[in-house]
């Protein structure tokens, strides 16, 4: 085959995988082997896909090529000199040689050059043993250096953020970290400073690299120049043992590899999972493993005795809990029992507890969401989008929380879709979020009142001829995108932007979009780790495992379960209200703390004060368990195998890396133990048996059995009501080819009991059966607005999460604890501050219909007028003191401590 003249090469070079619509394949010869590849794909990637590893330092598949390191030089027939394969797109007829004498000489030269200034301190370097520079020097280098002069010396290490340290001597100036910060994270807080041999990575004085994604630069650094404070000098790579798992710090479910040494977790690295996280993690997910080893972890059951909680043996504690349940059941019936929580556990935990609560005890007063989510019928029954749908969407509509704060890696995916792929973005909300700068349309509304702007948007997207001014840039962007992306859903990222307002308004806005005829699909943005698995497995009133209602699933489930509740039970708010009122006598708290987590703190406090009995499962003590009868210590992430469901409904494997200290138990096993003591053997002895039972009895989970879960490294997305019910399967996210030639900076799970498939070889294609019965589908209706919102208020509250608050992961992980903000502040913009006539930081009295608290007032220019922001993951006093769960919005009045402020209206 002859080579193609340069004049016929494509004029535009692409840097990323070809987009839909451009799938023209070309023939390329690499080292004498003819292969087919999409036209425009980068040569280095094509070679890798076909098993030829071209060495590289600066090239990274998820970022644009820069050609800085010159390590990937190859010979291309017809082109003068050697070419950098990381920036050379393939064209028809290209003939490439990757291992000629000229290439070898160039590689020797580049490596010798890089090593001139690189210290050979490998024995004390964190990267030593898994270092791309080490590995590639061995595989491709000259073997010796002619450099005898003194190498550079710098002060080290320099912290570039609270989590990441820089050793400038080791840096080879590949620009991976600086490109990540600018291109991927959108936080360009690091850059190259200086020139030539004094080039170094810099931050601006007083402005550290305080990105939520800073830890990724440590993982992608091809040398040991960037190290993590948490892992520095903790272990050598060859002493680590690893397992692939899913992150549980939020509900995105990023895939990663968890490393341990001597039965202690020491590191968590991202795995490049195409449909989920592209290899990235947020810092909370990356460094949050530390909390597993917190000193205050519960490791023995506690029972109430003599006015306090005292340690007790497992059999005695289980007996006591059983007698409490039986006693309440016998005296007051199943409806006097409420079960809250379960959104932090595994799917197996959720199923076993749903079966215990609904199938054994017979109560439907079960809710995994603590008033901070959306109605279960919406989440379970809405037409779902996957994360990958963002990339091919006609437009993305944000109708939920600040993704950067609550679902950071989803923020990265939305940002990529908007910035790199040109998907038009709409931001609907009461205040600015991390994605606002990238939106073509920013639709601001008063808290609790999104309908009007949503209607306007829905009409415009549906093709209404008149174009409102504020939507014109958006509609033009959509028109432009239609040239390359004609079809595609409108993906609505749907969640709760504030717990200070009722969910109804958000649901109404979602219904408007669902009914607008714009093929809207919804991607949930509920942040709690496994809330979607908990809802899918029946921890919601009115639902049974597998996305079916009580009525629809009753007959089928009755074959396995002893009973199924007759009528729909209560949600969290009513469960707590009934506990406060005395109708509910027993509250079971599944790894939750309503006093801290429920938006209406007063109601939660009343409920836990008045309820007769409390059984709590947790890994730490908390305020809600103060009056518990029994507290069971549970195993947590990293200690327990199983599966989770992420925001897409993707069921993915959880690995176990360490054996827990003390005597903790998996929550699902506690459920089976209690069931047995109540006289109902569940016959579930291992997590795989739970998974197999779920696959058998839960309609949406049909085919998703223990084998499939262990094989599907990227997880399996559950079928969705009324659209194509295929389970998408990606069997391998870790391409073996990437790891050839001893180049190992992609994390590699070692073999062991958690090896995918437990050693069995998966079939090439898995075609799971379709659900036998129709799954629940959301009626796209919402409760009507009951009353007009008051107009004569001073400020309206928006209560939302920030990434680092008073949550356990942040406060109990030493690396993250220094970033935690635990005191609540009232954030308003400058004009509101001036209107109140107070100084920045001054403490003011904040009055709602619920109560009156004192908070420091802080100016935040991103907050619109008539809005006040109070973060919810803060210690009291805070937002939960102000919210009344029965009100549709939370209006505030502010007084200075010295004089009352005259209210303007």
């Amino acid at each position: 085959m002859s080579s193609v003249p340069i004049s016929q090469w494509p004029s535009e070079y692409k840097y990323s995988a070809p987009v839909a619509g451009d799938t023209e394949m070309v023939n390329v010869t690499i080292d004498g082997v003819e292969v087919q590849a999409p036209r425009g794909e980068l040569l280095i990637k094509v070679a890798q896909d076909y098993g030829t590893y071209i060495p590289r330092f600066c090239y990274h598949e998820r970022m644009k090529p820069v050609g800085m390191c010159r390590m990937c030089l190859v010979e291309v027939e017809g082109m003068r000199g050697l070419q950098i394969s990381c920036a050379t797109p393939v064209v028809e007829g290209m003939v490439v040689t990757t291992q000629s004498p000229d290439v070898k000489e160039a590689q020797d030269g580049v490596l010798e050059f890089l090593l001139i200034n690189h210290p050979l301190d490998c024995p004390v370097c964190d990267r030593g043993g898994e270092c791309p520079l080490q590995d590639q020097t061995l595989a491709f280098g000259p073997g010796e250096s002619r450099f005898v002069e003194e190498k550079r010396h710098f002060e080290k290490p320099i912290p570039i953020s609270d989590l990441v340290l820089l050793d400038r001597e080791r840096c080879i100036q590949c620009g991976r970290c600086t490109r990540f910060a600018a291109e991927v994270a959108g936080d360009p807080l690091i850059d190259f400073g200086g020139r030539g041999s004094s080039t170094e990575v810099i931050t601006y004085p007083g402005a550290p690299f305080s990105s939520y994604f800073s830890g990724n630069v440590v993982q992608i650094c091809p040398v040991g120049a960037l190290t993590a404070r948490s892992y520095r000098f903790k272990a050598r790579p060859w002493d680590l043992s690893a397992v692939e798992t899913s992150c549980q710090s939020c509900s995105v479910g990023c895939r990663g590899v968890l490393d341990s040494a001597s039965n202690r977790l020491v590191r968590f690295l991202g795995v490049d999972s195409e449909p989920v996280n592209h290899g990235w993690l947020c810092d909370k997910g990356r460094y949050g493993y530390e909390w597993v080893h917190a000193k205050d972890r519960l490791n023995i059951p506690l029972v109430a005795r003599g006015g306090g909680l005292v340690p007790e043996s497992w059999p005695q504690a289980l007996e006591l809990a059983t007698s409490v349940i039986r006693d309440v059941f016998d005296k007051h019936g199943a409806k006097a029992i409420g079960v809250l929580g379960g959104a932090q556990g595994t799917n197996e935990d959720a199923y076993a507890w749903a079966r215990l609560a609904k199938g054994v005890i017979g109560t439907d007063n079960v809710d995994a969401q603590l008033g901070d989510g959306l109605p279960a019928e919406v989440v379970i029954g809405m037409e779902r989008a996957t994360i990958a749908d963002l990339d091919s969407a006609r437009a993305i509509v944000l109708l939920g929380p600040d993704l950067k704060e609550e679902l950071p890696v989803l923020y990265l995916r939305v940002r990529r879709a908007a910035v790199d792929l040109g998907v038009p973005l709409v931001d609907i909300g009461a205040s600015n979020t991390g994605l606002t700068p990238y939106a073509q349309a920013v639709l601001r509304h008063l808290p609790g009142d999104p309908e009007a702007v949503t209607e306007k948007l829905a009409a415009a997207l549906a093709g209404q001829p008149t174009r409102p001014d504020e939507l014109r840039p958006l509609l033009e962007a959509i028109d432009k995108r239609a040239l390359i992306q004609k079809e595609g859903p409108v993906v609505v990222v749907l969640g709760r932007s504030s717990v200070a307002e009722a969910a109804d308004a958000t649901v109404r806005a979602a219904a408007i979009l669902a009914q607008a005829g714009i093929s809207a699909k919804f991607l949930s943005a509920l942040p709690t780790a496994n809330v979607h698995g908990a809802l899918d497995l029946g921890l919601a009133p009115g639902f049974l495992p597998g996305r079916v209602t009580l009525a629809a699933g009753r007959d089928e489930l009755a074959k396995t379960w002893a009973r199924v509740p007759e009528e729909q039970g209560l949600g969290a708010a009513k469960i707590l209200a009934n506990a406060a009122g005395g109708e509910i006598k027993l509250l079971v708290l599944l790894n939750c703390d309503p006093i801290a987590d429920f938006p209406d703190g007063q109601l939660a406090k009343d409920a836990l004060k008045n309820v007769e009995h409390v059984i709590s499962l947790n890994s730490f003590t908390n305020e809600s368990m103060r009056h518990a009868d029994v507290v069971f210590p549970i195993t947590v992430w990293g200690e327990q195998r199983g599966s989770i469901s992420n925001i897409e409904g993707r069921v993915a494997r959880l690995g176990r890396k360490i054996t827990p200290d003390g005597s903790t138990m998996e929550p699902w096993r506690i459920a089976t133990e209690l069931a047995a003591r109540l006289g109902h053997e569940m016959d579930l002895e291992s997590f795989t048996e739970v998974q197999d039972e779920i696959a058998q009895v839960a309609p949406a989970f049909v085919g998703v059995d223990s084998k499939l879960i262990s094989w599907a490294r990227d997880g399996a997305v559950l079928p969705v009501a009324d659209h194509a019910a295929e389970i998408t399967l990606a069997l391998s996210s870790l391409d073996q080819n990437k790891r050839s030639a001893g180049v190992s900076w992609e994390p590699i799970p070692t073999s062991g009991e958690d090896t995918p498939g437990n050693g069995a070889v998966p079939p090439a294609v898995i075609s799971p059966p379709r659900p036998a019965q129709a799954l629940y589908s959301w009626a796209k209706q919402a409760p009507e607005r009951t009353a007009a919102l008051a107009d004569s208020y001073s400020l309206r509250l928006v209560a939302s999460r920030t990434l680092y608050g008073n949550d356990l992961i942040t406060t109990q992980s030493p690396s993250l604890a220094r970033l935690a903000t635990v005191t609540a502040q009232l954030r308003v913009n400058e004009r509101e501050r001036d209107r109140l006539g107070v100084a920045d930081g001054e403490v003011v009295r904040v009055i709602s219909s619920r109560s009156s608290i004192e908070l420091p007032l802080v100016v935040d220019p991103s907050v619109p007028e008539r809005v006040a922001l109070v973060a919810i993951n803060r210690d009291a006093p805070g937002a939960s003191d102000l919210v009344d769960i029965n009100e549709s919005v939370t209006d505030l009045r502010i007084e200075t401590l010295s004089k009352p402020v005259i209210k303007e209206s």
Binding site: A182, P188, L189, I190, D191, F192, G193, G194, R195, I202, T203, Y204, P205, A207
Partner: protein, 165 residues
Amino acid sequence: MGFTDEDRVRARAIIDRYPHAKSAMLPLLLLAQDRDGWVTPEAMEEIAVWLGTTPALVLGTCSFYTMLKREPVGDLVVSVCTNIACLVNRGPELLDGLRSRYEGDTAIMVEEVECIAACDRAPAIQINYEYYGPVDTTAAVDIIEQYRSGALQARTISGSSRGAK
């Protein structure tokens, strides 16, 4: 001193010349240097705001160029070449002579530079990027003092002709 409102109007015009705001970074850094005699941290921070970027990226660019001074250098920058042609024509002695003459003088900074493409005039110097040479220490001091007294009109610290910005 810092930017004046007049500077900000000019900055806006400079930014508008380019399809991407960030392309205006170098002209703006030169504007700042000519305003203050050096690129102050405040200037870098304000430029970052104008360009919609971070001070880290401004510092990254600024620190690449030795002609952008990140600390005060006085009114005159005297660049003495010590590269090969100037080396053999007593450039180092000229450098030493000027350094000792102006040591502690905050108005005048003497710096050593690599080849400034004036080998035919070796040893050559630049005074605010105006070429002189061949010169010895006495001749160089004489020219510098003419600038200091106002007998000669110096270019700006960035090398622009006065009023030609």
